[in-house]
């Protein structure tokens, strides 16, 4: 049974203070720490892994049909040189297309459904029981469902704004290249375009940071979409550099384990069952680490809207 499902009380939107969520109470701001909620982090990771498994299954089944009875397993597909892999793609071009379509559908569904574990994680970090204990999974999910409409509104609205910012950056870069091409030449004009495009992407990143702050406002302050966006924007405006850095270092840090394991995978992959198991553990450790870093940033966002 899911407990604690409460819709947002719009009459309280303007209050801008942490609100009780049914019989849950706002956790003390200083106690909003991702490290205090390993189970919630693991839950988000498990959710994502489950979706990824479902998304990967059609393609894996296709490979299994072709290589399931090979005494070497599907290792020839990973062999250096990629002859077997390219041949497999040639022989199964339609099947691969269909599998890719299925994977894309599951991935889109996963993106939309991802609001639930996100809301649950943030609810868990932001609230406690009256006794000060961590809330359970069912209450966290209940909180997430209660915040669902506002979070979905933010996803659509702010997501569109982020997409527009990215498109604007690309257009700006293209215009810059076109205007200086004759003067600087092809390569230098493109370098300038990339530089300008990269700088123009900063607003998109900033919108992303505001998005997370607005989500924190939804969960922590129980605000609706528009009020949460305003609260998130005000929070960001109060300390843009510090917040940008808080977001950026975690984003950069989440790339590092991917790179490290990629180097290790180059040595381990496709060499027997033990190597495969080792690699699987390493891969999942990377993914779990990235979820933890994301949770750490969301905790920071919750603390920030609290202070603002």
């Amino acid at each position: 049974m899911i407990e604690g499902i409460l819709t947002i009380d719009h009459a309280d939107e303007a209050a801008g203070v942490p609100r009780p969520l049914g019989y849950l109470v706002p956790r003390q701001s200083a106690r909003i720490r991702a490290r205090l909620h390993p189970a919630a982090i693991a839950g988000v990771w498990a959710w994502q892994t489950a979706f990824a498994l479902v998304a990967a299954y059609p393609a894996a089944a296709l490979v299994g049909a072709a290589y399931g009875n090979d005494p070497r397993g599907d290792s020839p597909l990973g062999a250096s040189g990629a002859l077997a892999l390219l041949d497999f793609l040639r022989m199964n071009v339609h099947g691969v297309g269909a599998a890719a379509g299925g994977t894309a559908l599951v991935t889109i569904a996963a993106v939309l459904a991802g609001l639930l574990p996100l809301g649950a994680l943030m609810t868990t970090m932001a609230h406690a029981t009256h006794g000060g204990h961590p809330i359970g999974a069912s209450r966290a999910i209940g909180g997430a469902i209660g915040s669902g409409r506002a979070l979905a509104g933010l996803l659509l609205g702010v997501g569109a704004a982020e997409a527009l910012a990215v498109v604007a950056a690309v257009i700006l870069g293209a215009v810059a290249e076109g205007s200086v091409h004759a003067w600087l030449g092809e390569a230098r004009a493109q370098m300038l375009a990339i530089a300008i495009g990269t700088v123009a992407l900063v607003p998109a990143c900033a919108i992303g940071v505001v998005h997370d702050l607005a989500r924190a406002a939804v969960v922590r302050l129980r605000l609706g979409t528009l009020s949460a966006w305003i609260a998130g924007y005000r929070s960001f405006r109060a300390a843009p550099i510090g917040l940008a850095w808080s977001w950026a270092w975690r984003a950069l840090a989440s790339v590092a384990p991917v790179a490290v394991v990629a180097l290790l995978a180059d040595r381990l992959s496709w060499r027997g069952g033990l190597a495969l198991a080792t690699l699987a553990v390493l891969h999942q450790a990377v993914l779990l680490t990235r979820v933890a870093l994301r949770a750490s940033w969301l905790a920071k966002a919750l603390r920030t809207v609290d202070r603002s």
Partner: protein, 634 residues
């Protein structure tokens, strides 16, 4: 074998190939020693030209002479001149009407043409006969103007030489099919009236500029004086022998013997990188900002030039120019001319994507398979593009190993794997060995001429060994250096080195849509009624028309493996085994030697149902998808 050599030698001598008999008598020395390499081509046609570039109007004003010798055994009463720039004159040219896909298939942004203003035959008395009125540019059934017939006022006897005097004007197109301009960038190929080749039997090998075909010409000396604006840098066939600047113009004279074409480029933005590689003065011309990719081009030359020289005979010229065009003029990229090649690739190409290196290695290989071994590219494109495609993949593999096309983020894709798969896409559609202009589509031309030829040769290399194929192609390249061999001469060398069976296989693959598919039909392993032994058997089929020996690997339940060999003869073979360990499965061609196998998926089977599991694929895909999900999800 001796008789065959004599037949070849006599045939070659009859076809006007000097020194051929002596070379054929020493096949063993042909394989490695360059001491006996022919030093020069038979000089058939010499061009002395001047060309002045008007960079504002993108016009080239040309004049000069062609000295041509009748090397056939018959008198000649007409000449054929190729006016290939007219391929871009209007939509009625064969080139633009034959858009069957591939490069040059989009509508041209701007047209170009060549106008012959004067053409005269120099008379022995110092006068001249005007040939222009007798020049027939169009045929009755075609509006194409790339293949001109010139009636002569008198016959040219065997071994007699004549001299033509001419003036012509080029209007360059916006760069298309490796010629033209973009802004102030100029790549000038197929720009002058060029003699078709007269075959030894007295027939002219002339043809319009077809959409998919390239060229064919006699060897000679090109003495070309180029006149461009002073700010422009020139790259051209052959070394600079004179240069000066006068009245705001840069004038360079390039002279190169033993070649059969001349191309040049001029641009006021060219950057220059020079080095000496294997005794050859190498110049890389590249746009501003392309220094890193130019260095990659040079690295490719540093590896491939000595490597190709060792395998196919020493590079005989003093210079090599690599032109790396800007991407806005990418139509100029990926082309070969004598001593001048064009590269390709953006300035920011990741180092793990080896397109720039592959293009340079490919075009450099053409210095042998097109340049020195000057086959008819229109009639038998597989002899230049296909053989050279193999040479490219072979060289890239020696240089960069299994990641010779892609070596990025742990993914390694070999050049030869791409060729093998590409070739199999069209292997049974139409023959490899056909004229370029008879292919049904540009895609099939690419898949068959380039990829299929390369993968057939790669299969022979993997099956019969690197040494055997290196010896075969090395002998072919050395024997027919400065000559114009056809498919029969090519296959005859395989016959000499590897035997008639291999030659027959090669011929079937090239001419008869030959194919092969090894497949495991059945695998069994059962315990004997009385005892602990297992009786196992495997049925392997060879489908198709090509025969290759192949390894069959039996995999046992305890993990042990045993290799069996099958010479590929017959349609099927059963492999049997008896022992204390059950057979778990079988893999045909475990080392992937027969890369043209029509399907690799049916090369294996297990005694037990594998359950359709693909653990590694599932693990890897799950990880990658989860990473993607984390990147785009809330």
């Amino acid at each position: 074998m001796r008789m065959r050599r004599w037949i070849l030698a006599i045939g070659a001598a009859c076809f006007g190939i000097t020194n051929a008999r002596a070379d054929h008598e020493r096949p063993a020395r042909e394989d490695a020693a360059d001491d006996d390499l022919r030093q020069h081509a038979i000089d058939v046609v010499d061009y002395t030209l001047t060309a002045s570039l008007d960079a504002a109007t993108h016009a080239v004003h040309g004049s000069g002479t062609i000295r041509w010798r009748n090397t056939s055994a018959r008198p000649v009463h007409e000449l054929w001149l190729h006016l290939y720039l007219n391929a871009f004159k209007d939509e009625r040219s064969d080139f633009l009407r034959e858009r069957v896909g591939g490069r040059g298939s989009v509508a041209p942004e701007g047209y170009g043409q060549i106008d012959v203003r004067s053409l005269a035959l120099r008379a022995p008395d110092g006068g001249s006969d005007d040939l222009l009125p007798a020049m027939e540019v169009k045929r009755a059934d075609s509006d194409d103007e790339t293949d001109a017939r010139v009636a002569l006022p008198r016959d040219v006897r065997p071994d007699e030489s004549i001299t033509l005097e001419m003036t012509f004007d080029d209007k360059l197109p916006i760069v298309v099919e490796r010629t033209g301009y973009r802004g102030s960038f100029h790549m000038v190929g197929q720009w002058f009236p060029k003699m078709a080749r007269l075959e030894p039997d007295g027939t002219w090998a002339h043809f319009p500029f077809h959409h998919l075909s390239e060229f064919y010409a006699d060897f000679g000396t090109y003495d070309v004086t180029l006149d461009v604006p002073e700010a422009f840098t020139i790259g051209a066939t052959g070394p600079v022998v004179e240069t000066h600047v006068a009245q705001g113009r840069r004038i360079e004279r390039h002279v190169q013997g033993d070649v059969h074409d001349f191309a040049w480029t001029a641009w006021d933005q060219w950057q220059t990188r020079r080095d000496v590689v294997d005794g050859v003065a190498v110049t890389v011309l590249y746009p501003p900002g392309f220094a890193a990719v130019a260095e990659r081009d040079l690295d490719a030359v540093r590896f491939a030039l000595p490597d190709d020289s060792a395998r196919y005979g020493r590079y005989p010229y003093a210079t090599l120019t690599v032109v790396h065009p800007p991407q806005e003029a990418a139509e100029a990229g990926g082309m070969e001319y004598p001593t001048l090649i064009t590269g390709d690739g953006p300035w920011l190409a990741p180092r793990g994507l080896l397109e720039p290196e592959i293009v340079v290695v490919h075009e450099l290989g053409h210095q042998w398979f097109y340049g020195l071994v000057a086959t008819n590219e229109a009639a038998w494109p597989f002899l230049d593009e296909g053989v050279n495609q193999f040479a490219e993949g072979d060289t890239m593999a020696r240089w960069r190993g299994s990641g010779s096309a892609v070596d990025l983020l742990g993914v390694r894709v070999s050049d030869s794997a791409i060729q093998a798969v590409g070739g199999n896409l069209a292997a049974r559609d139409e023959p490899v060995a056909q004229a370029a202009y008879t292919f049904s589509t540009g895609a099939n031309y690419g898949r068959l001429v380039y990829a299929r030829t390369a993968s057939v040769l790669e299969t022979l290399r993997r099956v019969y060994g690197d040494d055997a194929i290196a010896r075969t192609l090395g002998r072919y390249a050395r024997r027919f250096r400065f000559e114009h061999p056809g498919p029969d001469q090519f296959i005859a060398v395989f016959d000499e080195v590897l035997g008639p069976a291999v030659a027959a296989t090669l011929r079937a693959a090239l001419f008869d849509k030959g194919w092969v598919d090894f497949a495991v039909e059945r695998v069994r392993s059962e315990q004997t009624p009385h005892g602990n032994d297992y009786e196992s058997s495997v049925l392997v089929r060879r489908r198709g028309t090509l025969v290759f020996p192949v390894d069959v690997e039996l995999v046992f339940a305890d993990g042990s493996r045993r290799r069996e060999s099958w010479d590929g003869a017959g349609d099927w073979k059963v492999f049997e085994s008896r022992g204390p360990v059950a057979l778990a499965g079988v893999v045909v061609d475990p080392d992937e030697r027969v890369v043209i196998d029509a399907s690799i998926e049916n090369n294996h089977a297990s005694t037990a149902d594998g359950g359709g599991r693909a653990r590694r694929t599932l693990e890897r895909l799950t990880y990658l998808l989860e990473l993607a999900l984390q990147t785009v999800s809330p």
